[in-house]
Amino acid sequence: MSAHDSTLLRPRLLGRATVNVVVAISVLYTVLPGLWLVLAASKDRDALFSSDLLSLGDFSLAQNVRDLFAMDGGLYSRWYVNSLLYAVLGAALGALISVACGYAFDKYRFRHKEKLFGLVLAAVMVPQTVLALPLYLMASEVGVVNTFWAVFIPVLFNPFGVYLGRIFSQGYVPDEVLEAARMDGAGELVAYFRVALRMLGPGLVTVFLFQLTAIWNNFFLPMVMLSNQDLYPVSLGLYQWNSSASVSPEYYSVVITGSLLAVLPLILAFVLLQRFWRGGLTAGAVK
């Protein structure tokens, strides 16, 4: 190394320190509010209002959770089950539907294919709030307003999943494999379900996870469609309880504890399925 380098060393060290400090501050920004939620959920109400969060004296998470599930006759557990049903079933079915369509866009040729694909991409752009009123009117026409189906069917629709499915199909399913399956005399659908679907696994998990998050977050559609509290997902239920909190403050601590529990499934899903979506996200982003 020459002397020239050693004079550069100091600014470089300074640069390193700056980079690490900036990243550290950003991580604190994203992590601290989550930490606040955990701490607040483990405090009783008085400690919450004295914002005395760091005293570990009155640890009452268990009591808060008991209160949460006892509130309003155990409504929270109902909401939780509803959210799981909407999100897990909806995302699983939705991902299968979207990926099958994306695969077909990739592997088959037909007239006006790209125009049709353009329509799918256009659907990504349309705001949900634009569709809500007509969907509500259609649902009331058919008589499914305020039922499970009014929320479940619209959330299956995931045009972005088709876009991802097409990219994944290009990346993961070589045309030669499909040709080989055809040579072996496998029908087209058999080739899809037995051969291609297995290779599309990681992509399928990515689409599933995106959709799971979207449905778990969904708030507008249930709010429009549902009036029966027993059908609410957690998001809408917590919103309702939070509205009551301004009048009766005993709701504050259940809303906080309920929020903490509502975050857990998604964190769990992201951690458990990490191996899949990391790869999937990369494939989706590079294109």
Partner: protein
């Protein structure tokens, strides 16, 4: 990624000695393929028609018609064509225009912060000098797993005097701050959205940066470019496609602004029930039961979204073309 090579005529197992039979077999194979393609696509397109095309059509239809009750409301209700009356009503309604203004302000603050912040973080993480990189990424990504309504709840409490440790901290330094005041409410909402999505977009950019060929970066270092110049003048242009994608999605989401203000509405007098266009639509449709007004507002919002996405795409592709020259 392997590129899809378009195969020539499908190689079916037809014997070459019988050209007619071969042609027929090929035709049959093609029919089978189209049938399979149809089966795979039908569920999605059935959804597309029922929960997308028909609703959009209905919204457009509703915006041109109105339920009028002739004879002082006693006669039978009938639907009449009102032309652009609903649009005129929406576009002259100061609350709707105010909502559009609010969302414009929101986008102007949010979009640069979001895209710039996520890109800078991704470039820093990609620079190779960050310690505990995997943990930092996980920490930054964490808020993405928090549902929007819960993110809004957490921040609402962090904005509420008496509960918030942040306000306490400021109070100790003798600064009183009202996060939900006249001038702070839009930045406060921007902060919630930024917190939720920063890490996700950072991961998207980071993935794109990882795909930049290492030789390109090495070449730029050999040419004497420092790390900052390499990041800004070599890496950033190479991930342009991702930047455009993130910008468009961020914009589309920002225009729909609903969840956060809807939640804060209960706690801040600064947020009316028609704070954003989406809240205006909700209010018109489900509080005032004025379907044609809500539909007209929906169509206006839709047109704004399409125009902006188109504009961003056009603008960036023109910039690309100029670069190529």
């Amino acid at each position: 990624m392997t590129a899809t090579t378009q195969q020539p005529a499908p190689a079916t197992a037809a014997p070459p000695t019988a050209p007619v039979a071969g042609l027929r077999a090929r035709k049959a194979a093609r029919r089978r393929r189209l049938a399979a393609c149809g089966v795979l696509m039908t569920p999605f397109f059935a959804l597309l028609v029922t929960v997308f095309l028909i609703p959009v059509g209905t919204a457009v239809y509703l915006s041109f018609f109105s339920d009028d009750q002739p004879g002082l409301g006693f006669g039978p209700e009938r639907t009449v064509f009102v032309g652009l009356r609903s649009y005129a009503a929406v576009l002259t309604d100061p609350t709707f225009l105010g909502g559009l203004g609010t969302v414009t302000l929101y986008c102007l603050i949010y979009l640069p912060l979001m895209v710039g912040g996520a890109l800078v973080l991704a470039l820093l993480l990609d620079s190779g000098v960050v310690r505990l990189r995997a943990w930092a990424q996980l920490g930054l990504f964490l808020p993405h797993a928090v549902p929007g309504i819960i993110a809004a709840l957490i921040w609402l409490y962090l904005y509420t005097p008496g509960i918030s440790p942040i306000i306490d901290l400021f109070a100790k330094a003798d600064i009183t701050i009202d996060f939900l005041g006249v001038h702070t409410v839009v930045p406060s909402i921007v902060n919630i959205a930024l917190w939720s999505n920063l890490g996700y977009n950072m991961v998207v950019f980071y993935a794109a940066l990882q795909a930049v060929p290492r030789e390109v970066i090495e070449a730029s270092v050999v040419d004497g470019a420092g790390p900052v110049r390499t990041a800004l003048q070599v890496k950033t242009p190479l991930v342009r496609a991702s930047i455009v994608m993130v910008a468009i999605f961020t914009l589309i989401w920002a225009l729909q602004l609903f969840t956060e203000p809807m939640l804060l509405n209960l706690s801040s007098p600064m947020i009316s029930s028609r704070f954003s266009p989406s809240m205006y639509i909700y209010d018109a449709a489900f509080t005032r039961n004025n379907y044609s007004l809500a539909a007209a507002a929906s169509v206006v919002l839709l047109l704004c979204t399409i125009a902006l996405s188109y504009g961003v795409t056009r603008w960036t592709s023109r910039a690309d073309a100029q670069e190529a020259r």
